[in-house]
């Protein structure tokens, strides 16, 4: 499980990073943090995710580790049931499989008819549950760690009771004490004899002359004796000088640790091979070591000696050693000396190897290892040695500085020599050559060649070690090269380079192709990151796309989709226009025009706010994004500052902070850019406000501001003036934003146009983002999990006032990557369409059918969006909060919720921490999960059908037929309002339906509530004063969340929706009366029609997108879980 989780996470993380772009890892981290936070916070959002016992990690762990164990369960009345512990519920209800009531007579087993398939015990009925003889480590995953291995004992070992040793009185205490102080090495033989003689009367027959075994040497001064003595001395010298002798002595006197002897990775030999061939310089220390350890132990000393002797002296004799090597040899001979001179201590050796240059060491080592065949090669080597007399010093440069001239020359020679000699090598050698060029980036060709050559040789020389050796080899030979070079390569972006590097590691892979994959794996991690980092400055979009691709190389399928999604998302933000199709561009242009017109109409005042805006604009990254952002901001931002902010954050590419800044700046910049001074100002101010509001605004101020804004809108000039004054204060501006919804509507018109899927996609992204925020809310509504519903999602926003535009972005990012996104978008578009009217419905219709699951999700999203939007508008904080909270929730819920239909693996799921997943799995197994599933499925199916058609009609019917077309007919304020309302109602209804579908029981209630409320809303507040409606809506919203938190009463839901409806309606109403341009927009054919719906649509689309995202994410997550469970 953990592993899986890890993998999943990594994927999601990648997606997040891609989305986040500059924020990079922050995205994924954010997601996890959210989860973690939710969990830990426990009571709040966490409760939503894991309710009851499920929120208790340790309880979950213990109970889960006991699953499958037999247990005896005592109930209140004293009855005892015995069964196999199957699972447990969030309320700590326990499920026993094959349970039977234990009879007082223990010996008799249960009869078949006594056994119940499974019994669910309520926690309140359980007194004690006893699991006997449970192995708590049964299911532990870390079975292969040192601790786990050592902790396991084969068989049962009872610890023997330790008894204190009683030495008795026979021994004097002083004898014990003497052990501590006695420095002597045991007994002196004479003491032993003496002791035995005294104590036991035993006389030793020991004769120091050993006359029994030998004859004493009779020394005389005869010539013969002297000759013999000289001869003996000579022989002794030869013997002692011989390599074999040294080796054996070394073995005997080897001080090295077992680790070094048997466990440590051996690099010397291979190195030696390469070196021997090349006659590279070997550092004395290494020589000694090799001679000491390997040479003697494994192979013939003479060879070693020769090798060590190096080029100059062919002789095998130790004497031949060069001065530098001499010291080492001496050490070897001496045995005791070993380490001091060359390698002071075994520990020191390793470093020496690496630094001093593996090359030096290997040669000698190689010699021993090499079979007799090698000797022939020696002769050839000598020349090379001669050529590289300076090696000792150069060796270091070699390894480190690869590029060093000597090194380069050597490698070439090596390569040339290698292939001809060894047939097998030859094949590989070519490879090496190829590789080097690829690497060109940072590493000197020479170095590469060397490394490559070595591997090639290795196989030939030492076939046994070939695979493993290859890895060590490369590392040793290249030394620092590897690590460095691969990185460099990765940075440079040349995969080939990395491949080459990787290939040595793999060793086995002879072909370049193989190498490339490997390179991808290893280097990719490093390379992609740098790329991303660097790129962010340039174009966030592209970066994102790249990131997504790079990050998720593993899952190509997913990547592709994610890419699209990401690209689309990014487009809206940054590139929006360029990415858009020509039609889209036209739409955008129209939007721009609208924005300009709107601005002109709105006011001609350039306010201080404008200046502020100007200041912000500089931040904007690119002009392109600005234009789009303007449109978007106009529509989205005005509708809900929150959305705008969110969108901006999302669009920037997931860069959290920068994105927010950019977003705000974008709107501002466009305003500045736009010819019309007045309108831009308002917008700017609005934008400023939004940004500020997001960051710091208070809800209370919002409501008041909103009202003011409405009024202002009505009176454009006056309002503008006011706004100018207000603008300085963030709070004031916010209200405008709320009022702005109409302006947003104007911009939205393009969206409707876009609704045809592609065009829509661009504008939607922002909406999507906002929706994402809302989503979490939606989820709770969904029946996914009872616990979840109860979840404090609503509260959570209040709880967490942390401003997290970034977070939202990050979240959005993960979603983007999701493969399913494109479909979702289309779906999203559709949902907006539904609110818009018949048209939208028709447009949406076809797509909806295809992505049924997505639809359901969208619908859900829509309803939540509405909720969230009002909330969001009022409370930018909420958005951020909601996002945070929600994201975790969503993920968690998603897993739970995820319908089986969605096969796509969700990155999001992976993003979740391992533990959560585990816990999830745990949870899943328990009862609650299954219920959720059915709901989803049910919801999903109904949604596709109902959502657009049914929802719209219902809303219309209630409100009245006209609403559908009302958008276009808006010219009259009142009528417009009504139509809008109906639309809004329809949208709300659709959302509600979706929700209902999701939550089967609540649906009806929702409907009823919605139906009555919307009409009321339309007639009352809207016509009279948008302001009034707003506050009310806000209030309602606030209240509702709490209610929702407490319990999921359908009535509450209905209220919430109503509130949403109001909010949605309100904006439309306000704009219509106040802003003539708005009307125009609406009337203007395609845009106009969509406009009225636009607000709704915008809202809906956002939710939809968010929902879709969620659904996808959720689905993938869920699916895995299910599988696991199953």
């Amino acid at each position: 499980m953990s592993m899986k989780a890890g993998g999943n996470r990594s994927k999601p993380g990648g997606g997040n990073t891609a989305g986040a772009a500059s924020s990079g890892a922050g995205g994924s981290g954010g997601g996890r943090q959210n989860l973690g936070r939710g969990r830990h916070s426990g009571k709040g959002p966490a409760a939503v995710i894991f309710s009851g016992v499920y929120a208790n990690m340790r309880m979950v762990h213990v109970l889960t580790s006991v699953v499958g164990a037999k247990c005896e369960l005592k109930v209140k009345n004293g009855a005892i049931y015995e069964g196999v512990f199957k699972t447990y519920g969030p309320e700590c209800d326990l499920v026993l499989d094959a349970a039977h009531r234990k009879s007082p007579e223990p010996s008799i087993g249960p009869r078949k008819e006594d056994i119940v398939e499974s019994i669910i015990f309520k926690a309140s009925d359980v007194v004690v549950v006893t699991f006997k003889d449970v192995d708590l480590n049964f299911a532990r995953k870390d079975n292969f760690t040192d601790a786990a291995v050592s902790g396991k004992i084969n068989g049962e070992h009872k610890e023997k009771d330790l008894e204190p040793w009683d030495g008795g009185e026979t021994h004097n205490s002083d004898s014990l004490e003497s052990l501590d102080t006695d420095v002597s090495n045991g007994w002196d033989p004479n003491d032993m004899f003496k002791y035995n003689e005294e104590k036991y009367g035993v006389l030793s027959t020991y004769d120091s002359s050993l006359s029994t075994y030998t004859v004493p040497l009779e020394r005389d001064n005869s010539e013969e004796f002297l000759k013999r003595e000289a001869r003996a001395a000579q022989l002794a010298e030869e013997i002692e000088a011989s390599a074999t002798y040294k080796a054996r002595v070394a073995l005997e006197n080897d001080d090295r640790s077992e680790e070094e002897k048997y466990t440590a990775v051996v690099r010397g030999e291979r190195e030696s091979h390469t070196l021997s061939r090349e006659n590279k310089y070997i550092p004395p220390g290494q020589r000694n070591r090799e001679a000491m350890s390997w040479g003697p132990a494994r192979q013939n000393s003479p060879r070693l000696a020769q090798n060590s002797a190096g080029p100059p002296i062919p002789r095998p004799g130790p004497h031949d050693y060069s001065p530098s090597s001499g010291a080492d040899q001496r050490v070897v001979n001496g045995g005791t000396y070993h380490w001091p001179s060359p390698c002071p201590s075994p520990s020191s050796r390793p470093p020496s190897r690496y630094q001093s240059g593996p090359s030096s060491l290997p040669p000698r080592a190689t010699t021993p290892t090499r079979p007799p065949s090698r000797p022939p090669s020696r002769p050839s080597r000598p020349p090379s040695h001669s050529s590289h007399p300076s090696y000792p010093t150069s060796s270091s440069s070699f390894s480190h500085h690869g590029p060093a001239s000597p090194a380069s020359t050597l490698p070439k020679r090596m390569s040339s020599e290698g292939p001809p000699r060894m047939s097998p090598k030859s094949q590989r050698t070519p490879r090496t050559h190829r590789v080097p060029p690829c690497r060109t980036t940072g590493v000197p060709p020479g170095v590469d060649l060397i490394s490559h050559n070595t591997p090639g040789e290795l196989p030939v020389s030492a076939p046994t070690r070939s695979s493993s050796s290859g890895g060590t080899w490369s590392s040793v030979v290249s030394g620092a090269h590897r690590p460095r070079s691969p990185r460099q390569n990765s940075i440079s972006g040349s995969s080939s380079g990395s491949s080459s590097l990787s290939s040595p590691q793999t060793g086995a892979a002879p072909i370049e192709t193989v190498a490339t994959p490997t390179s991808a794996s290893s280097p990719t991690a490093a390379s992609p990151a740098p790329n991303i980092v660097t790129s962010p400055s340039g174009e966030a979009k592209e970066c994102r796309v790249q990131e997504t691709r790079q990050t998720s190389p593993t899952a190509n399928k997913e990547n592709i989709k994610p890419l699209d999604s990401s690209s689309s998302i990014t487009r809206p933000v940054c590139k929006g226009p360029p990415s858009m199709a020509p039609d889209h561009r036209k739409q955008i242009d129209n939007l721009k025009k609208f924005s300009v017109d709107f601005r002109l109409q709105s006011s001609s005042n350039t306010d201080p706010a404008f200046d502020q805006m100007m200041t912000k604009p500089p931040r904007d990254q690119a002009d392109k994004p600005k234009d789009l952002p303007l449109d978007k901001t106009c529509s989205v931002g005005r509708e809900g500052i929150e959305e705008g902010v969110v969108i901006a954050a999302g669009t920037p590419g997931g860069a959290s902070a920068p994105s927010t800044a950019t977003n705000t700046s974008k709107p501002g910049s466009p305003a500045a850019l736009s010819p019309s001074p007045s309108a831009p100002d308002q917008k700017r101010t609005g934008l400023d406000v939004t940004s500020q509001g997001v960051q710091t605004t208070a809800t209370s101020t919002f409501s008041g501001l909103k009202q003011e804004e409405k009024e202002e809108k009505k009176e454009a000039v006056q309002d503008q003036v006011r706004k100018s004054t207000l603008n300085p204060n963030a709070n004031e501006f916010k209200p405008r934003f709320t009022t702005q919804p109409k302006p947003s509507n104007t911009p939205t018109p393009p969206r409707p146009q876009g609704q045809p899927s592609p065009s829509i996609v661009v504008p939607q992204p922002p909406t999507v983002y906002s929706q994402t925020v809302c989503f979490p809310q939606m989820y709770p509504l969904t029946p996914v999990s009872p616990g979840v519903q109860k979840s404090i999602i609503w509260k959570s926003p209040a709880m967490y006032q942390v401003q997290m535009p970034h977070m939202a972005v990050s979240q959005s990012k993960p979603y983007r990557p999701v493969p399913s996104m494109p479909q979702q978008r289309s779906d999203q578009h559709h949902p907006p369409g539904t609110p818009t009217m018949m048209h939208s419905a028709t447009a949406a219709g076809p797509p909806i059918v295809a992505p049924s699951p997505a639809y359901s999700a969208q619908y859900f999203a829509c309803s939540p969006q509405q909720f969230s939007q009002p909330l969001v508008q009022q409370m930018p904080h909420y958005q951020s909060q909601a996002q945070h909270v929600f994201s975790p929730v969503m993920q968690g819920s998603a897993r739970m919720m995820a319908p089986p239909t969605h096969g796509q693996p969700s990155l999001v799921s992976s993003s979740t921490t391992q533990y959560p997943e585990q816990t999830h799995t745990m949870y899943v197994s328990p009862g609650p999960m299954p219920q959720q599933y059915p709901h989803h499925s049910a919801t999903l199916h109904p949604h596709p059908q109902h959502p657009q058609p049914s929802a719209t009609p219902t809303g219309q019917a209630q409100q009245g037929g006209p609403p559908q077309h009302g958008g276009p007919s808006h010219p009259a304020a009142s009528p417009v309002q009504h139509p809008q309302h109906p639309q809004a109602a329809a949208a709300a209804a659709a959302a509600a339906q979706a929700l209902h579908l999701a939550n089967q029981p609540p649906q009806q209630q929702m409907y009823s509530a919605l139906a009555p409320t919307p009409p009321s809303m339309t007639p009352g507040p809207n016509p009279q004063s948008p302001q009034a409606s707003f506050p009310s809506a806000q209030q309602t919203v606030y209240i509702h969340p709490q209610q929702v938190q407490h319990g999921y009463n359908p009535s509450h839901m209905a209220h919430v929706q109503q509130a949403h409806m109001q909010s949605g309606i309100v904006p439309s109403h306000h704009p219509a009366p106040t802003h003539p341009p708005m009307m125009l927009m609406a009337t203007q054919g395609p845009p106009g029609g969509p406009q009225p719906p636009m607000p709704q649509a915008s809202l809906n689309p956002i939710p939809v997108s968010s929902t879709t995202h969620f659904s996808y994410l959720a689905h993938p997550q869920v699916q895995p879980h299910h599988q696991q469970q199953l």
Partner: protein
């Protein structure tokens, strides 16, 4: 409703003793405690004395009185290891199947000896099942009542001989246990008579 305990909180790792409403005294190391459900999980030394195993006791503190914290551990509990859920699920399934098969045998009227033999064989050979009153081992060897070694029938081969060995050993062990029990019982009788 008994008090949940001092501070209404049990720190993981502390040793707790409590008395259930059914008069059972429970003591062990706190492994987990869920306040909302009032469920306390204790880990105790295995009742069978096996060192590698533990008894895990889940207590509903709502039915517990006299909660004592013997010693409190302030150290942070060790991190939780990830669990192999599939392994757990498999265990649950096999345990259930075993129990059901056992119940089947019992309901089929198999003698206690037969059931014991089945359990013994099942320990070494998982592939054994009941067929009516016959024990089928590895689909190859059939042991019919009264389940003696000579009742093992099947294709001559290592499987049959192996099963026979198991059966023989089983009854040998049973006999030795019985004799042990008898001797103990006799001793106790003697003791009682002597004492009286």
């Amino acid at each position: 409703m008994a008090a949940p305990g001092p501070g209404e909180y049990f720190s993981v790792g502390s040793h707790v003793s409590c008395l259930t409403c059914l008069g059972q005294r429970v003591q062990g190391e706190v492994v987990a405690f869920d306040y909302q459900s009032k469920m306390l999980t204790l880990k105790c030394a295995s009742s069978s004395g096996k060192p590698n195993l533990n008894d895990v006791i889940l207590i509903n503190l709502a039915y517990v009185s006299d909660v004592d914290i013997i010693n409190d551990r302030t150290e942070t509990p060790p991190p939780l290891a990830s669990l192999n859920v599939s392994k757990l699920a498999n265990r649950a399934r096999t345990e259930k199947e075993d129990k059901l098969s056992q119940a089947y045998a019992i309901s089929a009227g198999v003698s206690v000896e037969g059931q014991q033999l089945f359990q013994t064989i099942h320990k070494t050979i998982k592939d054994c099942k009941w067929q009516e009153k016959n024990i089928i081992v590895m689909d190859d060897v059939v042991i019919s009542p009264p389940y003696q070694a000579e009742n093992c029938k099947g294709k001559e081969g290592s499987a049959l001989s192996h099963v026979r060995k198991i059966v023989e050993k089983h009854f040998r062990d049973v006999e030795s246990q019985k004799s042990m029990q008898r001797s103990q019982a006799q001793q106790t009788q003697k003791d009682s008579t002597l004492s009286s």
